[in-house]
């Protein structure tokens, strides 16, 4: 019993020690535009406070469509999507990914992708804080 408690305590202590030095992940989610609000809400629910949103065009395996302009046919390969970027601390990265994937899923082709990359450094411009405390 004691062993377990000590194990838990040291795990908790190392958790506390590492606060401020947690690795950081950049979560980049490309989702369908009408899912933006859902994604934003889901991230907010798990404690992610800041996101950057860009309107983008893209395609994966989803094919484009043809349009007509004054009798001339043209192909639109690039479909409108929304890119949501959030820098998160490593400890909540998995739940963030799970949250996004859950709400952005429609089951239909073109739902999008989530990319996860490492962040080397983060700085809060107003205060100069760095590391995961700046997230």
């Amino acid at each position: 019993m004691l062993h377990v408690t000590i194990l838990c305590m040291s795990a908790r202590n190392s958790f506390i020690e590492h606060r401020g030095h947690l690795p950081m992940k950049l979560i980049t989610a490309i989702v369908k535009p009408f899912k933006l609000d859902d994604v934003r809400q889901a991230l907010s629910d798990i404690g992610v406070q800041g996101v950057t949103v860009t309107e983008v065009k893209g395609f994966g395996r989803q094919k484009g469509h043809t349009e007509l302009y004054r009798g001339a046919e043209y192909v639109v390969d690039f479909l409108p999507k929304v890119k949501v970027e959030a820098g998160v601390a490593d400890d909540i990265a998995d739940s963030a990914i799970e949250a996004i994937a859950k709400v952005a899923n429609t089951g239909k082709i073109g739902d999008g992708k989530i990319f996860v990359t490492n962040i080397e450094q983060t700085v809060r411009i107003r205060t100069g804080e760095t590391g995961d405390e700046a997230l």
């Binding site: 349009e67 302009y69 004054r70």
Partner: protein, 420 residues
Amino acid sequence: MENQIFELQYALDTFYFLICGALVMWMAAGFAMLEAGLVRSKNTTEILTKNISLFAIASTMYMVCGYQFMYDGGFFLSGVDTTGSLDKAAVLAASAENGFDGDSVYSGASDFFFQVVFVATAMSIVSGAVAERMKLWAFLLFAVVMTGFIYPIEGGWTWGGKDVPFLGALDYSDYAGSGIVHMAGAAAALAGVLVLGARKGKYGKDGSAQAIPGANLPLATLGTFILWMGWFGFNGGSTLKLGGIEVANEVANVFMNTNAAASGGLIAALILARLMFGKADLTMALNGALAGLVAITADPASQSALMSTIIGAIGGVLVVLSIVLLDKIKIDDPVGAISVHGTVGIWGVLAVAIFGDASFGGQIVGLLAIFVWVFVTSLIVWLAIKAIMGIRVSEQEEYDGVDLSECGMEAYPEFASSKG
């Protein structure tokens, strides 16, 4: 007492000219918005600059010499009475002589004002056809010649009542200018487009037309609505007077028929585009409305509303076919100006011989006189300007957009920062 009524009639006719002239001036805004909506965003500033500048150039050149060439109004309007030298007794005598049903008597300045806005309309037809690849100053230089000389000469042969060399007086009926204004503008545009060439990438290796979609369809639609409304002044003012029951009825007919023709043109073009392309094409519908307006311009007074709708609808069908045909023969017209104003302008003039009381011979001779004069002189001027300064921007400039090369100013700037 009688003199007071003549004074009132003078004032009313003058007022009518001024209001209609103001409506036609507003068409310049319509053209500007229509064209701005149908070009790419990187070429928007330049086309707006062209549109508003050509209006100013037309107003100036017509004052300098155009009005003289067309109506003997005197260079720099020396022949136009102002209030300073007004001989009121003579004016009242002229009113009495003409009576309420005869020629209207009105202020000379109002006549100039009404005429000058028509010059600007003819010139602005050219700006859409040559969009996205012409040098701005080459265009403005052409505008100086077109508004000061080319248009006034053929206007003089028709509305001015002057004899055409070798042909004598024309037997040509064109109420508000389907041929004199619209086809003339299209002829100048056609000459320009032939010298200029198509936009890069417009026609593929196999010759098929590539779509180059316009950047702002709300503007294009707004422009069409503005033109539609302004056209009430364009056709309505061409009645040239308002006093009296008969004339008032004529004016009312003109407004009603103008609207009817636009409606017919739009519906016909919308349906035809739907049949040909599978979807409703807004840009074709817009061109269709304008085609209807052009078609009725040669005779908006004597037809019934139903006939006007049909005449407009035929214009709407013709414009869609013409746009497709011009692309097939690789004449690149980004906004369809040559089709709307040229192809349908011809139809409008011939329609008067079919449905009205003009003669086929008279209409055709008139059309030929206008077309040959405007096309040939325009061709010469375009080639001359090409030799002097070139008329087409370089390939890189065309790629980057003429907003940057000709105006140094983006229409929709992003990420602009100050230099210092």
